[in-house]
């Protein structure tokens, strides 16, 4: 167990901006190192009768890659983000309406799914949708030596033997969603979860600082 990694996991530099697009009801841009994602939220809006759910809002996530049309990989990631968002949104407050979340990749340099999750959370907050908790995405890679690297860039991801992304919630730091690739032991999985939970503290503090900065003009 690498105690130094457990005590203070190293994450790349964050950047975030809210309310930058004029058309969507909520928007955000999240930057982790060189990976950058733009998110837009529309809702609660009108929903097609075929898609409406009688007691909750219908959440749709659309992911656009930087080049080309969305494929199977995007669909799988959309499902991960959708399940996480549905778990944290209070969708029973808006029955028979639709919430649409559009995620656009601006640049991909590793840890893309966790960047999607972070920008989705900020965009949902910006749109004023009622949420029961916040969520943060953290990616861990296990390289060939068995070292755990948090927030890997594209080169580190390519050389890793296992790559895991977790969505952690803000109230109890539990794992809401996990998406993994590669082979690893149970012990390594638990170690990565512990490291991700520690890293999510920094991300939640960053959310708080960003929102504070945003409201500082009207205070």
């Amino acid at each position: 167990v690498d105690l130094k990694q457990l005590c203070c996991p190293t994450l790349r530099e964050f950047g975030c901006e809210q309310n930058l697009l004029s058309r969507p009801d909520g928007s955000s841009s999240f930057v982790q190192g060189d990976t950058s994602v733009l998110a837009g939220v529309y809702g609660p809006a009108e929903v097609k009768v075929s898609k409406e759910i009688y007691d909750r809002a219908t959440l749709e996530v659309v992911m656009q890659p930087k080049v080309g049309l969305p494929g199977v990989r995007e669909r799988a990631r959309e499902q991960c983000v959708r399940e996480t968002c549905e778990a944290s949104l209070l969708s029973t407050l808006h029955p028979r309406s639709s919430l649409t979340l559009v995620l656009q990749v601006v640049h991909d340099d590793g840890s893309l799914l966790s960047c999607f999750l972070n920008s989705a959370c900020m965009a949902l907050m910006d749109a004023g949708l009622p949420m029961s908790c916040l969520f943060a995405g953290v990616t861990c890679a296990i390289d060939t030596d068995g070292q755990v690297i948090t927030d890997p860039n594209a080169a580190q991801e390519k050389e890793s033997r296992a790559l895991m992304t977790f969505a952690i919630d803000s109230t109890e730091r539990r794992v809401m969603m996990s998406s993994t690739r590669g082979s690893f032991t149970v012990h390594e999985l638990q170690q990565c979860i512990a490291v991700s939970q520690k890293a999510s503290d920094k991300i939640f503090q960053f959310y708080r600082d960003s929102v504070r900065r945003r409201y500082s003009k009207t205070l």
Binding site: L90, G128, S170, R208, K217
Partner: protein, 255 residues
Amino acid sequence: MVCLFDCVILSCFYVIIHLVYKVGDVLLPGDVFSFQMPESITDSKPEKVVCGPGLRRNGDEVLVCKSGILRHKQPNLYWIDSQQRRYVPGKGESVIGIITSKSGDIFKVDVGGSEQASLSYLAFEGATKRNRPNVQVGDLVYSQFIIANKDMEPELVCIDSCGRANGMGVFGAGGLLFKVSLGLVRRLLAPQSEIAKDLEKMFPFEIVVGMNGRVWVKSKTIQQTLIVANLLESCENMTAQQRQTLFRRVADGSI
């Protein structure tokens, strides 16, 4: 500032409050108001707390569900002041709607929410079955919600409880309709609104403000109308200082 709710979810319950967060703090979804019971309950009276928009009761706790600034109004009202663009219909709120279709005895009105609202023919002043109001598709109408909850289709009326129009009804010959955020609309409609006072000093104009974020402006010339519309759209993110400087510059420039 008097609060104007855009969602009327109020829950009142008796607790003894020790707030960990101060009024004016920025709170995020998932934060908990902690209600701590002190050792001796006998000498302190239980206080009733009214929770406004952005706060939800979850068993014994009150959770924050929107990000924003915590506000307080005497004696016991707390709410979260958040910046939002999308309107959610609330009972009793006056909004600007656009008539989209007529069918049978009702008009369908677009208010910017998740569903179109319905407005009956008879809900205008002096309207009877023989004497139908002169309302066409595409007209702007200033009306009030009588039914607006999450489970039912919202319903509007253009009369108050006594049957008088009271300023509501069809309007908008000439003028410009544009959209701003809900926070700006609330600031404009507050009783001691500084933005409204600063705007009045510019030049005479007519303005209708709907709580769904829609504002209609009409002035003597098209240029003045556009100036007022641009000023309102841009003073969203400005501090009071910057706004007054901007208004002064425009007032000097336009003379």
